[in-house]
């Protein structure tokens, strides 16, 4: 190709000219030539062949020229390691220059030359510069340590540079302190357990002093570092907060956000409802609002963070909803974030304004924004019951606009509204059906089909409507196919006479003509159900659905807590933990909110201590799962004499899965061990009677603590309770002591004493308990899992000698090993916590720096379990080896014990 060849030649001749100019006698000419080289380098041209000529220009007393040469060196040294050596002498010499600006320039540049051979020559000059009399040189040398660490970490440690860096924290110059803190913080990220920063009260005090004096950037480094500190008690936490609070008035938004991060973290440690605590909460709101008057990019970062803060502590901004109203000229990314926060802050008090705003937004131009606004209206309806009617009528207005994507979005949210408020708004179905033809998105089609199926008995031509979807069945998305299948089966169960043909058609499409396994399986299940037992089919398919949750899109609580620790950083912008987007060792270490010490009697989980978390933690039931929800009932296993509700399945999933938090309504604390109060018998399954409860062990006795709530309209009397035979022979010691009738919307709490002298029958899972409760209305059944820890008896401490002998006696195949991850407790705390739950420490040994704990526990039925816990310093993962003679009798008990260890050790 002639042209490219031409350019190549031209470039070669340019290089040739540059070479000549670089060797020109006149200094000015040389400088101009180096400038040209840098310009070429910037646009990505390869000027590496000029390396020797450029380096020749380095020996100069002209600082500007020197800087340009250094810039070149930093870019190309790596590709020309042998020639880069030529520069070493010059660096060493410059580090001795009388002018501090030149000394700093040299130490700054040499750290950027990533050539192994050179690095070792730089240690001595760096050592000197770290002790330089001039603070400007020292602050530059501090950063150079971080640079060197990135190239050769081992060398930096061997040379003792980390100690020198630590000494700089006590430097008299605030900027030196700030840079040392920045360097140490970054280095320590790659050694999460090394405690490099050595944060102790003295050092913290130094940092707080430097905070008042250094540049805005230095303040950010220091605040970010402070946020990793765990104050030893609430007094220390408060005094740090007091000294950090003034930063909230800084003009730099990053200083403000980093201060907010420190305060949000330390708030966890402060006693609630004290004056100071409340004042601090109040102080957080104005600076957050002020961030929204900054430039749009900073607004975006602030909004992403506020989104986290309002989930963690909604009280901070609950009065400020107006500042999140969208401005016409806001960039789209600001608009979308504001909308999200508006919905989170929407409440009965402000709903009228919010709705008026949302209605405006729904007529804007940006498609994403409009869709989100429509969705928001639906969410308001679900969140604030009083507004539901207005929301529905607004949505109907929007459907009348016939703007395609608005209509589709509206139909999706209306489906959810139907779910939340059954039997209220179905009158609008006719209007919805008019828009059937315009729906081309799977979500909207599925929503519409669901509505038609669910309310088939009220829609005269439901069969025609559903049939119209059937024509292109195989072109539909899986979601639509599944919904359509279920909808037609529902229709058939409601109007069997006219729709037999239709249901056969859909079943054959799903089972015979489809290669999607989900669709086929569901098709077959329906088919068999319908052909064997239509009555059960009706019960299953048309069963009542659980109500939809109020809040959607909530960030899972443990992730939320982690993200709060990252306020201001990219993680808080992405709403992802750092390891989701950072490679290598940086940021892999997970951060946790600090835990309040000795706060057992607060009655709240320390991790999610926010009032929101405890007061009305919404029950999150994923709204998408409703179709599967229909089918869950089928998994109950072989029918037994005791009819079981679906609550049993949910209970079982709970204990073993990690999704506890979401289903938790209230939390309970017994001793130091947490168990969760769960709804055992939902009101919809028991004609208005709701039972929730938990098990506990107090002073050597087991109790079943229950709340009975009457959600029906008539009073309830004649309560009695009975257990089925179970693995541990658990029976009530006394009859149920309910002497007064339970009035509508009244609740009674009862503590039922239990013992283990009843008949035994092995259950699966082992700790399963089936319960029957009777009242004047009916008999109800539910099953639940008893936390094994209530079976751990007080005399579970084995003699040392017996322990040793037993341990040896048990064959190796009766041993199970597992890990407890991310546990930051020391051996003594672990031992104490376990002991509170009747798991006793028999002996403690220290082997090669590891702590070994030997534990024993005894179950009410006399089974012993022995365990060995290995704790390595700095490693948050503990290894547990558990053994038991009766392993065959226990089977999955080990799994459960493993979970108990986890639960006890993870408060």
């Amino acid at each position: 190709n002639m042209t490219s060849k031409y350019f190549k030649n031209q470039w070669n001749s340019e290089i040739f000219e540059l070479k000549a100019e670089l060797n020109n006698e006149k200094k000015e000419k040389r400088k101009e030539a180096v400038k040209k080289v840098i310009a070429a380098m910037t646009v990505g041209k390869d000027v590496s062949s000029l390396f020797p000529d450029v380096v020749n220009c380095m020996q100069t007393d002209n600082l500007e020229l020197k800087k340009l040469v250094y810039l070149y060196l930093m870019n190309y040294a790596k590709s020309q390691p042998d020639m880069a050596i030529m520069a070493v002498n010059s660096f060493v010499k410059d580090c001795e220059d009388p002018n501090p600006l030149i000394r700093a320039l040299a130490v700054r540049t040499m750290g950027c030359i990533r050539v192994d051979k050179i690095t070792e020559y730089l240690c001595e000059p760096l050592r000197k510069c770290l002790k330089d009399e001039d603070p400007y040189v020292r602050k530059t040398a501090a950063v150079c340590v971080a640079k060197l660490h990135d190239i050769n970490a081992q060398m930096v440690e061997d040379q003792g540079f980390l100690d020198s860096l630590r000494d700089l924290i006590a430097d008299s110059n605030p900027m030196v302190v700030a840079n040392a803190v920045a360097a140490l913080s970054e280095i320590s990220e790659s050694h999460p357990n090394s405690n490099l920063l050595d944060l102790n009260p003295q050092n913290i005090n130094k940092l707080l002093t430097a905070l008042n004096e250094c540049t805005e950037w230095g303040q950010i480094f220091i605040l970010d570092c402070l946020s990793n500190y765990n104050p030893k008690d609430e007094r220390e936490a408060q005094s740090i907060c007091e000294r950090v609070t003034p930063r909230l008035s800084h003009a730099n938004s990053a200083v403000v956000l980093s201060a907010v991060k420190v305060l949000m973290k330390f708030l966890e440690l402060l006693p609630k409802d004290t004056d100071y605590y409340n004042t601090l909460l109040k102080k957080l709101s104005p600076p957050l609002v002020t961030l929204l008057s900054g430039e749009p990019e900073v607004q975006y970062v602030a909004l992403r963070n506020i989104n986290l803060i309002v989930q963690k502590r909604p009280e901070i901004l609950k009065q400020e909803i107006k500042v999140f109203f969208v401005k016409y000229n806001d960039p789209i990314y600001v608009k979308l974030e504001k909308l999200d926060i508006m919905i989170r802050l929407a409440s009965h008090a402000n709903i009228a304004q919010v709705l008026a705003e949302l209605k405006e937004y729904a007529t804007e131009v940006d498609v994403d924004f409009v869709r989100k606004a429509v969705r928001a209206i639906g969410r308001c309806a679900i969140k604030v019951e009083q507004s539901a009617e207005r929301c529905v009528s607004t949505l109907l207005d929007l459907i009348q606009t016939k703007v395609n994507y608005v209509v589709q979005e509206a139909i999706v949210v209306i489906r959810d509204i139907f779910r939340k408020y059954p039997n209220k708004y179905e009158s609008i179905i006719a209007t919805l059906c008019e828009n059937l033809d315009s729906l081309d998105e799977p979500d909207a089609r599925a929503a519409m089909i669901w509505i038609v199926g669910e309310y088939a008995e009220r829609i005269d031509n439901a069969d025609e409507l559903l049939e119209s979807f059937l024509e292109g069945f195989h072109d539909e998305s899986t979601q639509v196919q599944l919904t359509l299948l279920t909808a037609i089966v529902k229709l058939f169960l409601k109007k069997p006479s006219e729709t037999q043909e239709l249901v056969q058609q859909v079943l054959s499409l799903a089972t015979q003509d489809s290669d999607n396994p989900d669709l086929r399986d569901r098709g077959y299940i329906y088919w068999r159900l319908l052909s064997t037992d239509p009555v059960t089919a009706k019960e299953v398919v048309l069963s009542e659905k659980p109500l939809i949750s109020e809040e959607t899109d909530l960030i899972e609580p443990t992730l939320l807590d982690e993200l709060i620790c990252h306020i201001g950083s990219l993680a808080s912008v992405y709403h992802k933990p750092p390891n989701a987007f950072v490679e290598g060792s940086h940021g892999i270490h997970r951060k946790h909110l600090p835990i309040q010490h000795g706060s057992i009697d607060t009655g709240e989980s320390p991790v999610s201590a926010g009032p929101a978390a405890s007061i009305d933690q919404p029950q999150v039931i994923p709204s998408q799962g409703d179709l599967l929800g229909d089918l869950l009932n089928l998994d109950l296993g072989p029918p037994v004499n005791v009819p079981q509700g679906s609550s049993m399945q949910i209970g079982a999933v709970d204990l073993l899965g990690g999704g506890l938090d979401s289903l938790v309504r209230r939390m309970y604390r017994e001793h130091s061990f947490l168990w969760f109060v769960k709804v055992w018998l939902p009101a919809v399954k028991a004609k208005g009677l709701e039972i929730s409860g938990t098990f506990s062990r107090r002073q050597g006795h087991m109790y079943m603590d229950m709340s009975f709530i009457n959600k029906a309209l008539q009073h309830m009397t004649d309560f009695a309770i009975q257990f089925n035979k179970n693995s541990f022979g658990v029976i009530p010691t006394t009859p149920l002591a309910m002497h007064t009738p339970l009035m509508p919307s009244q609740s009674i709490d009862i503590s039922l004493p239990l013992n283990t002298i009843g008949p035994v029958m092995k259950m699966d899972p082992l700790n399963n308990l089936q319960v029957a409760v009777k009242n004047n209305i009916d008999v109800f059944y539910f099953s639940t899992l008893i936390p094994l820890s209530v079976f751990f008896v007080e005399d579970g401490k084995m003699e040392r000698q017996v322990f040793l002998a037993t341990w040896k006696d048990i064959p190796n195949e009766n041993e199970l090993q597992y890990q407890i991850k991310e546990c930051h407790l020391n051996a003594d705390t672990v031992s104490g916590k376990l002991q509170n739950n009747n798991i006793y420490t028999i002996a403690k040994r220290n082997v090669e720096g590891q702590d070994m704990l030997y534990q024993s526990l005894k179950l009410t039925n006399g089974i012993w379990i022995l365990a060995e816990l290995r704790i390595q310093p700095g490693n948050p993962n503990y290894t547990v080896n558990a053994r038991s003679k009766e392993i065959d009798r226990l089977q999955n008990a080990f799994d459960i014990v493993q979970n108990i260890f986890k639960d006890i050790l993870h408060p």
């Binding site: 501090p100 600006l101 640079k147 600076p287 016409y328």
Partner: protein, 441 residues
């Protein structure tokens, strides 16, 4: 920390590329161009993650500035740094344009080397930088030893924004209270949201290292003084603040020269000012705002091809004061074919390219009212999309602070030099401008 910094022109050609970290390769430069600058869709976020690399960008006219990182950096800091970099460049060579950047690329590299070390932002106060980074090359070789250490101690020192030894024959300072008043009003005249964001901008030409104290009619301070019963308020009404009325400030932020801990504990604003112009503080108020103008819109659709618009504006301040540069912008539908306008005052024009009727009035006194009527002809259209009816917006400038803020005093102390507070000539000015001042119609 920041791994690299790139500046592009509007075509995506790279003008400046400075890489600080080894994990950022040359391909990062291209990744940003392809995925963001050349992206078909409008920018959906100022932060973009491409192949586990995060790009932060801001735009100044048609120049893109992008910071790149592979770590979990402090995102707010990165943006603040980018803004700061724009300030520094503007202070050195004026407008950020392709030409200026190309002409000053050596200087920019020098600055980037100084204000960002291994991706850690360093002192970026222009006042300090200008003492040793100049367009004539570094002064280094001509400086005495004392000068050198003065530079380094200033750059790293507690008062990094001011150098020692400044001298003026006349000690003078100018104080501007600049407010932008924001409003969102419903068509029925209900205030949906209103706030003032204000700035106190100072130009100080003072000798030595003066200690300054600034006072305003902050409700918290006034109430405290009222309780304490102190009558001799320092420098009462000295700078023309007359009304006794105080204002509730929702929140304020300060230039880094202000001692924040002192403000936190005593609510007093004391500082050693930078030399020349800078922004002392920003504040926000939401209570008792004086809304200088009220806009009353009336839009009527006459059939499918005609709109009738009538807009009344009323000025709401002392009749002796004059508002200036008044502009009312009335949006028109995209399918507008023609417009007829009649206005009582000023000039009005339909600007097809901006889809709006722009009505301009040079001056208007307080407690007056004016009106415009327009007939908008529309082309028949099949477009199903409804016209979004953007709000009517307004621009203006008034010679008072809509928040009601008054400067009570600004005291200057310089113990070492031979001048006192009385010798300093002080000027105070209040300017209220429209921010986003919109009325829905």
């Amino acid at each position: 920390m920041i791994g690299g910094l790139f500046i592009y022109n509007h075509k995506g050609e790279v003008l400046i590329s400075r890489v600080y970290r080894d994990d950022i390769g040359r391909n990062a430069v291209d990744a940003f161009r392809v995925n963001v600058i050349h992206a078909r869709q409008q920018v959906r976020s100022p932060v973009t993650n491409i192949a586990r690399t995060s790009f932060f960008h801001v735009k100044r006219s048609n120049i893109w500035l992008a910071a790149v990182t592979k770590q979990n950096v402090n995102a707010a800091m990165v943006f603040e740094f980018l803004y700061k970099m724009c300030d520094v460049m503007t202070a050195y060579f004026g407008k950020i344009s392709e030409e200026n950047i190309k002409n000053n690329f050596v200087l920019i590299y020098e600055l980037l080397d100084e204000i960002l070390d291994f991706g850690y932002p360093q002192n970026s106060e222009t006042g300090a930088l200008k003492t040793f980074i100049t367009q004539q090359g570094i002064k280094g070789q001509h400086q005495t030893k004392e000068e050198q250490s003065q530079i380094t101690s200033q750059v790293t020192g507690q008062i990094g924004w001011r150098r020692e030894g400044i001298k003026y024959r006349r000690n003078e300072l100018f104080l501007d209270v600049l407010e932008s008043v924001n409003l969102l009003m419903s068509p029925q005249g209900q205030v949906l949201s209103a706030h003032v964001s204000g700035r106190v901008v100072m130009k100080s030409y003072l000798s030595g290292m003066p200690e300054c104290k600034f006072g305003m009619n902050d409700k918290i301070v006034i109430d405290k003084q009222g309780k304490g019963g102190t009558t001799d308020e320092p420098g009462k009404s000295e700078l023309g603040g007359s009304g006794k009325q105080s204002i509730a400030i929702d929140d304020c932020t300060f230039h880094q020269c202000v001692r924040l801990s002192k403000f936190d504990s005593e609510r007093s604003i004391s500082f050693i000012p930078p030399d020349g112009e800078y922004e002392l503080m920003r504040y926000r108020t939401t209570k008792d705002i004086i809304l200088p103008f009220r806009v009353i819109p009336l839009v009527r659709e006459v059939g499918r091809t005609k709109l009738e618009v009538k807009v009344v504006i009323k000025s709401n301040f002392k009749p002796s004061l004059l508002a200036q540069k008044i502009e009312v912008r009335i949006p028109t539908p995209l399918n507008t074919s023609g417009v007829q306008v009649i206005c009582m005052k000023g000039k009005a024009k339909y600007k097809a390219s901006e889809n709006a009727i722009v009505w301009k009035i040079k001056r208007m006194a307080g407690m007056k009212e004016s009106q415009i009527s327009a007939e908008i002809e529309l082309l028949p259209t099949n477009d199903k999309k409804k016209w979004a009816r953007p709000p009517i917006s307004m621009n203006f400038e008034v010679p008072f602070a809509p928040s009601g803020l008054k400067v009570r005093y600004l005291k200057v102390f310089e113990s070492k030099l031979n001048y006192s507070d009385h010798d300093v000539i002080k000027w105070v000015r209040y300017i209220g401008r429209s921010g986003i001042y919109e009325t829905r119609c």
